[in-house]
Symmetry: D2
Subunit: 141 residues, 4 copies
């Protein structure tokens, strides 16, 4: 299981009433929204706010794959910590690792794979060098 200290960036949020289901726990799909929120804050903290700071130069980032594994259940009003780091930088792809924790207990963890591609043709395009450099510098602390 991913350790909290492995993440160069953490976003904190409080579970909303509308995110909790009739069993009193956060609906499993909403963790993917939490991933998205934390990834947006990760890029903002890097000085590359989504979408404009992130995808200058013609290409765009498309989500290619997401997975999430569940280890526990978040409840209404819980304060969650969502850690984000870049797990892999490919030629034209970018994989973020994300973990949702509460008081140090990992509730969910997963990865989101982005492909950098031409918005028209959807052909992959190499990641811009300056984005690559920003990510590496940010994750190195």
């Amino acid at each position: 299981m991913t350790e909290s200290q492995d993440f160069p960036f953490h976003h904190r949020l409080r579970v909303r009433w509308t995110e909790v289901d009739m069993q009193g726990v956060v609906f499993f799909g909403h963790y993917v929204t939490y991933f998205d929120l934390a990834m947006a804050e990760y890029f903002r903290a890097m000085g590359r706010p989504y979408p404009d700071g992130l995808v200058a130069g013609g290409g765009d980032l498309f989500v290619k794959k997401v997975d999430c594994e569940y280890f526990g259940s978040a409840r209404y009003d819980d304060l969650l910590d969502i850690g984000v780091r870049t797990a892999r930088l490919g030629r034209s792809s970018l994989t973020l690792a994300v973990a949702v924790t509460r008081d140090g207990e990992t509730l969910a963890a997963g990865e989101v794979v982005y492909v950098h591609a031409d918005p028209e043709s959807r052909q992959s395009v190499p990641l811009p060098e300056d984005l690559r450099a920003s990510i590496e510098a940010f994750d190195a602390g």
Copy 2:
């Protein structure tokens, strides 16, 4: 309370798991989403699907006001009927009346006021005559 038979159009939907809160009832804000879904189907049935069929000619419809009164609670898996009609046609505004019923029992009812305006200046613009005619013909049955 609005009677079900007053509506020229009815949209049916099933309550989703993600719309029900930890008290086992649909979150009150989601009724506004139900209103929106049913209004979109109302305009589609009229031959004026939102947004393109509805707002040709330069103006656009902006929501100016919404209200909703609650009389009961929808639950998971409930089959709901959402009635829609145009309650008022102003010079540049359009008020829809909407009611959410389950087996003939009204659970919620309200109105949505749209203003037809210029997207840039936000100055109100008279409703197109053909839209007015479509609505009057549709509601007259």
Copy 3:
């Protein structure tokens, strides 16, 4: 239009990607969710977190009515301020006034009416005196 300084409590939030529609503005129904979020924080700040701190003693608070008027459009990443105050305290009802502002500009404002009732019979029950006292003290600052 409600003035920002009229509110004893303000909750700040950032507009999420998932709350913005294809016209680049927050879907009108999501303002009701913003109302709900801010009201929950209002009661938490009062020392009466929803639901347990709010509804001891057998009765429960049910939303009876909501209305919202729109004056502008929130966009992705906007930082919003949501002001909350109790507008009316009835024998068994409670009306909250809420306004959503961005940099001092009011984007939406409305009211939410709660009725204090028996969860089984849905008959209204007088508001507990201590809740009434908490609200009056909190709003008086």
Copy 4:
């Protein structure tokens, strides 16, 4: 890529306005909600509506893992077909395969792994034999 004809069950739905983002496509996280909706209908069609028909006998089904791969983008008003089948039946786990298609084109496909466990201890418990039999009979057609 999963072929549409591989699925014993299909659920159809129309993309909602609130599910589309400012780039005009369905937010990637909402596909997981589509999975959930279709899985609920799959079990309903099987005569085992979630949650009561599914989890009698003390155990409950918990989502352990979800993954989704994206091949295209759904847009506002699209009519989607969501195919569901049971991909694996373990001793105490259940894996559903799901694919979202539009006019025969696969837009997204993935799997959801459920574990059958004791709600208190979260220890895994063998799947009830009658649930196993229902699933096998339903998927065999």
